[in-house]
Protein backbone atom coordinates (compact mmCIF):
# COMPACT_ATOMS: atom_id res chain seq x y z
CA UNK A 1 0.00 0.00 0.00
CA UNK A 2 1.07 3.48 -0.76
CA UNK A 3 -0.36 6.33 1.22
CA UNK A 4 0.62 9.90 0.46
CA UNK A 5 1.70 12.13 -2.35
CA UNK A 6 4.89 11.99 -4.38
CA UNK A 7 7.00 15.06 -3.74
CA UNK A 8 7.75 17.41 -6.54
CA UNK A 9 10.25 20.20 -7.08
CA UNK A 10 8.69 23.55 -7.31
CA UNK A 11 9.86 27.11 -7.29
CA UNK A 12 7.34 29.86 -7.69
CA UNK A 13 7.87 33.60 -7.45
CA UNK A 14 4.82 35.73 -6.97
CA UNK A 15 5.33 39.31 -8.21
CA UNK A 16 2.46 41.79 -7.91
CA UNK A 17 -0.17 40.99 -10.50
CA UNK A 18 -1.98 37.78 -11.36
CA UNK A 19 -0.19 34.47 -11.55
CA UNK A 20 -2.38 31.65 -12.80
CA UNK A 21 -1.70 28.01 -12.04
CA UNK A 22 -3.10 25.49 -14.50
CA UNK A 23 -2.77 21.75 -14.57
CA UNK A 24 -4.59 18.45 -14.45
CA UNK A 25 -6.56 17.45 -11.36
CA UNK A 26 -4.34 16.01 -8.65
CA UNK A 27 -1.21 17.73 -9.98
CA UNK A 28 -0.86 19.60 -6.67
CA UNK A 29 -2.16 23.06 -7.57
CA UNK A 30 -4.23 23.36 -4.42
CA UNK A 31 -1.38 21.93 -2.37
CA UNK A 32 0.85 24.81 -3.49
CA UNK A 33 -1.90 27.26 -2.56
CA UNK A 34 -2.35 25.70 0.86
CA UNK A 35 1.40 25.66 1.51
CA UNK A 36 1.52 29.39 0.80
CA UNK A 37 -1.43 29.95 3.13
CA UNK A 38 0.13 27.88 5.90
CA UNK A 39 -2.77 25.42 5.82
CA UNK A 40 -2.39 21.66 6.40
CA UNK A 41 -1.83 19.75 3.16
CA UNK A 42 -1.27 16.15 4.17
CA UNK A 43 2.06 16.23 2.35
CA UNK A 44 5.64 16.75 3.44
CA UNK A 45 7.28 19.90 2.17
CA UNK A 46 11.04 20.41 2.36
CA UNK A 47 11.82 23.97 1.51
CA UNK A 48 11.00 27.52 2.27
CA UNK A 49 7.69 29.35 1.98
CA UNK A 50 8.03 33.10 1.98
CA UNK A 51 4.54 34.42 2.38
CA UNK A 52 3.08 37.28 4.38
CA UNK A 53 1.72 36.26 7.80
CA UNK A 54 -1.82 36.97 6.68
CA UNK A 55 -3.21 36.23 3.23
CA UNK A 56 -6.52 36.86 1.48
CA UNK A 57 -8.25 33.56 0.69
CA UNK A 58 -11.00 32.60 -1.72
CA UNK A 59 -12.00 29.00 -2.31
CA UNK A 60 -14.35 27.37 -4.78
CA UNK A 61 -16.81 27.01 -1.90
CA UNK A 62 -17.61 30.54 -0.74
CA UNK A 63 -17.38 29.32 2.91
CA UNK A 64 -20.14 31.69 3.95
CA UNK A 65 -21.41 30.82 7.41
CA UNK A 66 -25.19 30.34 7.14
CA UNK A 67 -26.02 31.68 10.60
CA UNK A 68 -24.15 34.94 10.13
CA UNK A 69 -25.44 37.90 8.14
CA UNK A 70 -23.54 39.12 5.09
CA UNK A 71 -21.87 41.73 7.29
CA UNK A 72 -21.10 39.09 9.93
CA UNK A 73 -19.43 36.93 7.30
CA UNK A 74 -17.22 39.80 6.16
CA UNK A 75 -16.26 40.46 9.79
CA UNK A 76 -15.63 36.78 10.54
CA UNK A 77 -11.87 36.97 9.95
CA UNK A 78 -11.44 39.76 12.48
CA UNK A 79 -13.67 38.00 14.99
CA UNK A 80 -11.70 34.77 14.59
CA UNK A 81 -8.44 36.67 14.94
CA UNK A 82 -9.73 38.21 18.16
CA UNK A 83 -9.42 41.79 16.89
CA UNK A 84 -12.11 44.45 17.13
CA UNK A 85 -14.53 44.09 14.21
CA UNK A 86 -14.42 47.12 11.91
CA UNK A 87 -18.03 47.26 10.70
CA UNK A 88 -17.79 50.60 8.85
CA UNK A 89 -14.90 49.25 6.74
CA UNK A 90 -16.77 46.01 6.07
CA UNK A 91 -19.84 47.99 4.90
CA UNK A 92 -17.64 50.13 2.66
CA UNK A 93 -16.11 46.98 1.14
CA UNK A 94 -19.57 45.52 0.55
CA UNK A 95 -20.39 48.71 -1.36
CA UNK A 96 -17.29 48.32 -3.53
CA UNK A 97 -18.22 44.74 -4.49
CA UNK A 98 -21.72 45.85 -5.46
CA UNK A 99 -23.59 44.60 -2.41
CA UNK A 100 -24.71 47.91 -0.92
CA UNK A 101 -27.86 47.48 1.16
CA UNK A 102 -27.34 43.73 1.58
CA UNK A 103 -25.33 43.78 4.82
CA UNK A 104 -28.14 42.34 6.92
CA UNK A 105 -29.20 39.61 4.49
CA UNK A 106 -28.61 35.93 5.24
CA UNK A 107 -26.30 34.04 2.83
CA UNK A 108 -29.07 31.61 1.84
CA UNK A 109 -31.03 34.50 0.32
CA UNK A 110 -28.19 35.37 -2.09
CA UNK A 111 -27.40 34.13 -5.60
CA UNK A 112 -24.17 32.24 -6.33
CA UNK A 113 -22.56 35.37 -7.77
CA UNK A 114 -23.61 37.49 -4.79
CA UNK A 115 -22.22 34.87 -2.42
CA UNK A 116 -18.82 35.00 -4.13
CA UNK A 117 -18.96 38.79 -3.90
CA UNK A 118 -19.33 38.42 -0.13
CA UNK A 119 -16.39 36.00 -0.15
CA UNK A 120 -14.37 38.61 -2.09
CA UNK A 121 -15.29 41.30 0.43
CA UNK A 122 -14.26 38.94 3.25
CA UNK A 123 -10.92 38.32 1.50
CA UNK A 124 -10.41 42.07 0.97
CA UNK A 125 -11.03 42.64 4.69
CA UNK A 126 -7.60 41.06 5.30
CA UNK A 127 -5.91 43.82 3.27
CA UNK A 128 -3.08 41.35 2.66
CA UNK A 129 -0.37 41.79 -0.01
CA UNK A 130 -0.97 38.22 -1.22
CA UNK A 131 -4.32 36.80 -2.34
CA UNK A 132 -4.76 33.06 -2.87
CA UNK A 133 -7.68 32.05 -5.08
CA UNK A 134 -8.64 28.39 -5.47
CA UNK A 135 -11.04 28.25 -8.42
CA UNK A 136 -13.41 30.78 -6.89
CA UNK A 137 -15.26 31.45 -10.15
CA UNK A 138 -15.60 27.91 -11.49
CA UNK A 139 -19.11 27.26 -10.19
CA UNK A 140 -20.56 30.50 -11.60
CA UNK A 141 -22.45 30.88 -14.87
CA UNK A 142 -20.50 32.42 -17.75
CA UNK A 143 -21.79 35.98 -17.44
CA UNK A 144 -21.50 36.08 -13.66
CA UNK A 145 -18.04 34.55 -13.89
CA UNK A 146 -16.81 37.31 -16.20
CA UNK A 147 -18.25 40.04 -13.97
CA UNK A 148 -16.61 38.42 -10.89
CA UNK A 149 -13.26 38.11 -12.69
CA UNK A 150 -13.32 41.80 -13.61
CA UNK A 151 -14.40 42.82 -10.12
CA UNK A 152 -11.69 40.70 -8.49
CA UNK A 153 -9.01 42.12 -10.84
CA UNK A 154 -10.14 45.64 -10.05
CA UNK A 155 -10.33 45.12 -6.27
CA UNK A 156 -7.11 43.13 -5.97
CA UNK A 157 -5.04 45.49 -8.16
CA UNK A 158 -1.52 46.08 -6.86
CA UNK A 159 -1.39 42.83 -4.86
CA UNK A 160 0.19 39.52 -5.72
CA UNK A 161 -2.58 37.12 -6.69
CA UNK A 162 -2.20 33.40 -7.23
CA UNK A 163 -5.20 31.89 -9.02
CA UNK A 164 -5.58 28.14 -9.30
CA UNK A 165 -7.89 27.28 -12.17
CA UNK A 166 -8.95 24.44 -14.43
CA UNK A 167 -9.95 26.80 -17.18
CA UNK A 168 -7.30 27.80 -19.78
CA UNK A 169 -9.45 30.70 -21.04
CA UNK A 170 -9.67 32.09 -17.52
CA UNK A 171 -5.90 31.85 -17.07
CA UNK A 172 -5.23 33.48 -20.45
CA UNK A 173 -7.73 36.25 -19.80
CA UNK A 174 -6.50 37.15 -16.31
CA UNK A 175 -2.89 36.06 -15.97
CA UNK A 176 0.14 38.32 -15.96
CA UNK A 177 1.94 34.98 -15.69
CA UNK A 178 0.59 31.52 -16.38
CA UNK A 179 2.26 28.38 -15.10
CA UNK A 180 1.45 24.83 -15.97
CA UNK A 181 1.90 22.30 -13.17
CA UNK A 182 2.23 18.80 -14.53
CA UNK A 183 4.33 15.75 -13.72
CA UNK A 184 5.83 17.49 -10.71
CA UNK A 185 7.15 20.44 -12.65
CA UNK A 186 6.12 24.08 -12.95
CA UNK A 187 6.45 25.40 -16.48
CA UNK A 188 5.89 29.06 -17.45
CA UNK A 189 3.62 29.33 -20.48
CA UNK A 190 3.90 31.90 -23.28
CA UNK A 191 1.30 34.66 -23.19
CA UNK A 192 -0.13 37.07 -25.78
CA UNK A 193 1.47 40.54 -25.68
CA UNK A 194 -1.66 42.40 -24.55
CA UNK A 195 -2.06 43.25 -20.86
CA UNK A 196 -4.83 41.43 -18.96
CA UNK A 197 -7.76 41.30 -18.87
CA UNK A 198 -7.41 40.11 -22.44
CA UNK A 199 -10.31 40.05 -24.87
CA UNK A 200 -10.93 36.84 -26.77
CA UNK A 201 -10.03 38.77 -29.92
CA UNK A 202 -6.65 40.00 -28.65
CA UNK A 203 -3.84 38.98 -31.04
CA UNK A 204 -2.05 35.77 -30.18
CA UNK A 205 -4.68 34.58 -27.71
CA UNK A 206 -6.03 31.81 -29.91
CA UNK A 207 -2.51 30.51 -30.53
CA UNK A 208 -1.64 30.64 -26.82
CA UNK A 209 -4.91 28.86 -26.03
CA UNK A 210 -4.16 26.15 -28.55
CA UNK A 211 -0.63 25.71 -27.17
CA UNK A 212 -2.00 25.38 -23.62
CA UNK A 213 -4.66 22.90 -24.67
CA UNK A 214 -2.07 20.81 -26.48
CA UNK A 215 0.04 20.65 -23.32
CA UNK A 216 -2.96 19.89 -21.10
CA UNK A 217 -4.21 17.13 -23.37
CA UNK A 218 -0.76 15.57 -23.75
Amino acid sequence: MLDGRVLFDVRLDLPPGWTCLLGPSGAGKSTILRLLAGLPTGTRFDGRVTAPPRVAWMAQDDLLQPRLSVLGNVLLGQRLAGTAPDAPRARALLDTVGLDGMADRRPDSLSGGQRQRVALARALMEDAPLALLDEPFSALDAGTRRRMQDLARERLAGRAVLLVTHDPSEALRLGDHVHLLAEGRLEPMPLPPAAPPRALTSPGLAAAHEALMTRLAA
Binding site: A37, L63, Q65, R67, L68, G77
Partner: protein, 238 residues
Amino acid sequence: MKALVSAVALIGLWQAIVSLTGVPAFILPGPRAVAEAALANAAMLSANAGVTAAEIAAGLVLGCVAGVAAALAMTLSHWASRLLRPVLVASQSVPVFALAPILTLWLGYGMGAKVAVVVLIVVFPVASALHDGLTATPAAALDLARLARASRLDTLIWLRLPHALPHLGAALRIAAVYAPIGAVIGEWVGASAGLGHLMLVSNARMKTDLMFAALAVLAVLTLGLRAAVDAALRRLEM
Protein backbone atom coordinates in the same frame (compact mmCIF):
# COMPACT_ATOMS: atom_id res chain seq x y z
CA MET B 1 -55.17 17.99 14.56
CA LYS B 2 -53.61 14.65 13.56
CA ALA B 3 -52.60 14.11 17.19
CA LEU B 4 -56.20 14.75 18.26
CA VAL B 5 -57.50 12.18 15.76
CA SER B 6 -55.09 9.50 16.98
CA ALA B 7 -55.90 10.33 20.62
CA VAL B 8 -59.62 9.92 19.94
CA ALA B 9 -58.97 6.68 18.02
CA LEU B 10 -56.86 5.33 20.88
CA ILE B 11 -59.53 6.16 23.48
CA GLY B 12 -62.14 4.55 21.21
CA LEU B 13 -60.05 1.38 20.98
CA TRP B 14 -59.55 1.39 24.74
CA GLN B 15 -63.32 1.70 25.33
CA ALA B 16 -63.99 -1.06 22.80
CA ILE B 17 -61.58 -3.45 24.56
CA VAL B 18 -63.17 -2.69 27.94
CA SER B 19 -66.74 -3.14 26.61
CA LEU B 20 -66.08 -6.24 24.51
CA THR B 21 -63.92 -8.24 26.92
CA GLY B 22 -65.69 -7.25 30.12
CA VAL B 23 -62.32 -7.02 31.85
CA PRO B 24 -62.74 -6.04 35.54
CA ALA B 25 -62.19 -2.35 36.38
CA PHE B 26 -59.31 -3.07 38.76
CA ILE B 27 -57.37 -4.53 35.80
CA LEU B 28 -58.37 -2.04 33.10
CA PRO B 29 -60.83 0.75 33.91
CA GLY B 30 -62.66 2.41 31.01
CA PRO B 31 -61.88 5.95 29.80
CA ARG B 32 -64.94 7.28 31.54
CA ALA B 33 -63.99 5.85 34.94
CA VAL B 34 -60.48 7.26 34.57
CA ALA B 35 -61.84 10.69 33.63
CA GLU B 36 -64.12 10.63 36.67
CA ALA B 37 -61.25 9.62 38.93
CA ALA B 38 -59.16 12.43 37.46
CA LEU B 39 -61.88 15.00 38.12
CA ALA B 40 -62.58 13.72 41.64
CA ASN B 41 -58.88 13.88 42.53
CA ALA B 42 -57.95 16.94 40.47
CA ALA B 43 -56.36 18.81 43.38
CA MET B 44 -54.23 15.85 44.43
CA LEU B 45 -53.21 15.06 40.86
CA SER B 46 -52.15 18.64 40.16
CA ALA B 47 -50.19 18.84 43.42
CA ASN B 48 -48.29 15.66 42.55
CA ALA B 49 -47.87 16.76 38.93
CA GLY B 50 -46.33 19.97 40.26
CA VAL B 51 -43.74 17.98 42.23
CA THR B 52 -42.86 15.79 39.23
CA ALA B 53 -42.74 18.79 36.89
CA ALA B 54 -40.36 20.59 39.24
CA GLU B 55 -38.08 17.53 39.36
CA ILE B 56 -38.14 17.27 35.56
CA ALA B 57 -37.46 20.97 35.05
CA ALA B 58 -34.62 21.15 37.57
CA GLY B 59 -33.01 17.94 36.28
CA LEU B 60 -33.39 18.97 32.64
CA VAL B 61 -31.84 22.40 33.16
CA LEU B 62 -28.98 21.11 35.32
CA GLY B 63 -28.35 18.11 33.06
CA CYS B 64 -28.30 20.21 29.88
CA VAL B 65 -26.03 22.84 31.42
CA ALA B 66 -23.64 20.16 32.66
CA GLY B 67 -23.75 18.31 29.33
CA VAL B 68 -23.06 21.45 27.32
CA ALA B 69 -20.27 22.45 29.72
CA ALA B 70 -18.67 19.00 29.42
CA ALA B 71 -18.78 19.08 25.61
CA LEU B 72 -17.31 22.59 25.49
CA ALA B 73 -14.57 21.64 27.95
CA MET B 74 -13.70 18.55 25.90
CA THR B 75 -13.41 20.68 22.77
CA LEU B 76 -11.27 23.35 24.42
CA SER B 77 -8.93 21.20 26.48
CA HIS B 78 -7.08 18.00 25.68
CA TRP B 79 -7.04 17.18 29.37
CA ALA B 80 -10.80 17.47 29.76
CA SER B 81 -11.23 15.39 26.63
CA ARG B 82 -8.93 12.65 27.90
CA LEU B 83 -10.72 12.66 31.25
CA LEU B 84 -14.33 12.79 30.05
CA ARG B 85 -14.32 10.76 26.85
CA PRO B 86 -14.06 7.36 28.62
CA VAL B 87 -16.81 8.43 31.02
CA LEU B 88 -19.09 9.24 28.08
CA VAL B 89 -18.38 5.91 26.42
CA ALA B 90 -18.90 4.01 29.69
CA SER B 91 -22.13 5.87 30.43
CA GLN B 92 -23.65 4.47 27.26
CA SER B 93 -23.04 0.92 28.42
CA VAL B 94 -24.36 1.36 31.99
CA PRO B 95 -28.15 1.66 32.41
CA VAL B 96 -28.35 4.88 34.38
CA PHE B 97 -31.74 3.81 35.77
CA ALA B 98 -29.93 1.14 37.76
CA LEU B 99 -28.29 3.90 39.78
CA ALA B 100 -31.63 5.23 41.03
CA PRO B 101 -31.70 3.08 44.21
CA ILE B 102 -28.16 4.19 45.07
CA LEU B 103 -29.04 7.84 44.52
CA THR B 104 -32.09 7.45 46.75
CA LEU B 105 -29.92 5.82 49.39
CA TRP B 106 -27.52 8.76 49.30
CA LEU B 107 -29.86 11.66 48.73
CA GLY B 108 -32.99 10.51 50.53
CA TYR B 109 -36.66 10.47 49.61
CA GLY B 110 -36.92 14.13 48.68
CA MET B 111 -36.55 15.83 45.32
CA GLY B 112 -32.76 15.65 45.31
CA ALA B 113 -32.54 11.99 44.29
CA LYS B 114 -35.09 12.42 41.46
CA VAL B 115 -33.33 15.49 40.11
CA ALA B 116 -30.08 13.54 40.22
CA VAL B 117 -31.57 10.65 38.19
CA VAL B 118 -32.88 13.12 35.58
CA VAL B 119 -29.49 14.87 35.44
CA LEU B 120 -27.71 11.55 34.91
CA ILE B 121 -30.10 10.54 32.15
CA VAL B 122 -29.84 13.90 30.37
CA VAL B 123 -26.18 14.84 30.78
CA PHE B 124 -24.51 12.08 28.77
CA PRO B 125 -26.58 12.18 25.56
CA VAL B 126 -26.34 15.98 25.51
CA ALA B 127 -22.57 16.01 26.10
CA SER B 128 -21.99 13.24 23.60
CA ALA B 129 -24.15 14.71 20.81
CA LEU B 130 -22.79 18.24 21.23
CA HIS B 131 -19.21 16.98 21.32
CA ASP B 132 -19.82 15.01 18.10
CA GLY B 133 -21.22 18.15 16.52
CA LEU B 134 -18.33 20.31 17.70
CA THR B 135 -15.79 17.94 16.16
CA ALA B 136 -17.68 17.59 12.86
CA THR B 137 -17.05 21.14 11.63
CA PRO B 138 -16.30 21.12 7.89
CA ALA B 139 -12.55 21.25 7.23
CA ALA B 140 -12.95 24.10 4.72
CA ALA B 141 -14.62 26.24 7.41
CA LEU B 142 -11.78 25.46 9.81
CA ASP B 143 -9.37 26.74 7.14
CA LEU B 144 -10.83 30.19 7.84
CA ALA B 145 -9.87 29.81 11.50
CA ARG B 146 -6.33 28.73 10.61
CA LEU B 147 -5.94 31.61 8.16
CA ALA B 148 -6.94 34.04 10.91
CA ARG B 149 -4.70 32.25 13.42
CA ALA B 150 -7.78 31.99 15.61
CA SER B 151 -7.61 30.80 19.20
CA ARG B 152 -9.42 27.60 20.20
CA LEU B 153 -12.04 29.68 21.96
CA ASP B 154 -12.72 31.98 19.00
CA THR B 155 -12.86 28.98 16.67
CA LEU B 156 -15.34 27.37 19.03
CA ILE B 157 -17.55 30.44 19.28
CA TRP B 158 -17.60 31.46 15.62
CA LEU B 159 -17.30 28.19 13.71
CA ARG B 160 -17.63 25.00 15.76
CA LEU B 161 -20.61 25.99 17.88
CA PRO B 162 -22.78 27.34 15.03
CA HIS B 163 -22.14 24.19 13.01
CA ALA B 164 -22.97 22.01 16.05
CA LEU B 165 -26.30 23.66 16.87
CA PRO B 166 -28.42 21.11 14.95
CA HIS B 167 -26.68 18.31 16.89
CA LEU B 168 -27.41 20.13 20.14
CA GLY B 169 -31.03 20.67 19.10
CA ALA B 170 -31.51 16.94 18.46
CA ALA B 171 -29.92 16.11 21.83
CA LEU B 172 -32.11 18.58 23.72
CA ARG B 173 -35.26 17.14 22.11
CA ILE B 174 -34.22 13.66 23.24
CA ALA B 175 -33.39 15.01 26.70
CA ALA B 176 -36.91 16.44 27.00
CA VAL B 177 -38.36 12.99 26.34
CA TYR B 178 -35.96 11.15 28.68
CA ALA B 179 -36.29 13.56 31.60
CA PRO B 180 -39.86 12.55 32.69
CA ILE B 181 -38.84 8.88 32.59
CA GLY B 182 -35.96 9.64 34.96
CA ALA B 183 -38.20 11.54 37.38
CA VAL B 184 -40.82 8.77 37.51
CA ILE B 185 -38.25 6.03 38.02
CA GLY B 186 -36.72 8.09 40.79
CA GLU B 187 -40.15 8.32 42.40
CA TRP B 188 -40.78 4.60 42.04
CA VAL B 189 -37.62 3.83 43.96
CA GLY B 190 -38.73 5.92 46.90
CA ALA B 191 -40.72 9.12 47.24
CA SER B 192 -43.36 10.85 49.28
CA ALA B 193 -44.91 12.82 46.41
CA GLY B 194 -45.07 13.00 42.63
CA LEU B 195 -47.01 11.24 39.86
CA GLY B 196 -44.81 8.13 40.00
CA HIS B 197 -45.37 7.90 43.75
CA LEU B 198 -49.13 8.38 43.24
CA MET B 199 -49.18 5.56 40.68
CA LEU B 200 -47.53 3.16 43.13
CA VAL B 201 -49.84 4.14 45.98
CA SER B 202 -52.97 3.87 43.82
CA ASN B 203 -51.84 0.50 42.56
CA ALA B 204 -51.31 -0.79 46.09
CA ARG B 205 -54.80 0.36 47.07
CA MET B 206 -56.33 -1.18 43.94
CA LYS B 207 -57.38 2.30 42.77
CA THR B 208 -56.53 1.42 39.19
CA ASP B 209 -58.62 4.29 37.78
CA LEU B 210 -56.55 6.81 39.76
CA MET B 211 -53.35 5.12 38.62
CA PHE B 212 -54.44 5.53 35.01
CA ALA B 213 -55.40 9.14 35.70
CA ALA B 214 -51.89 9.80 37.04
CA LEU B 215 -50.44 8.09 33.98
CA ALA B 216 -52.57 10.28 31.70
CA VAL B 217 -51.44 13.44 33.49
CA LEU B 218 -47.83 12.29 33.10
CA ALA B 219 -48.37 11.70 29.37
CA VAL B 220 -49.85 15.19 28.96
CA LEU B 221 -46.93 16.65 30.93
CA THR B 222 -44.37 14.84 28.75
CA LEU B 223 -46.06 15.78 25.47
CA GLY B 224 -46.39 19.39 26.61
CA LEU B 225 -42.71 19.53 27.56
CA ARG B 226 -41.70 18.06 24.23
CA ALA B 227 -43.83 20.55 22.31
CA ALA B 228 -42.48 23.48 24.34
CA VAL B 229 -38.85 22.44 23.85
CA ASP B 230 -39.45 21.86 20.15
CA ALA B 231 -41.07 25.28 19.72
CA ALA B 232 -38.24 27.02 21.60
CA LEU B 233 -35.58 25.22 19.54
CA ARG B 234 -37.35 26.07 16.28
CA ARG B 235 -37.22 29.73 17.20
CA LEU B 236 -33.46 29.35 17.66
CA GLU B 237 -33.20 27.53 14.28
CA MET B 238 -31.86 24.40 15.93
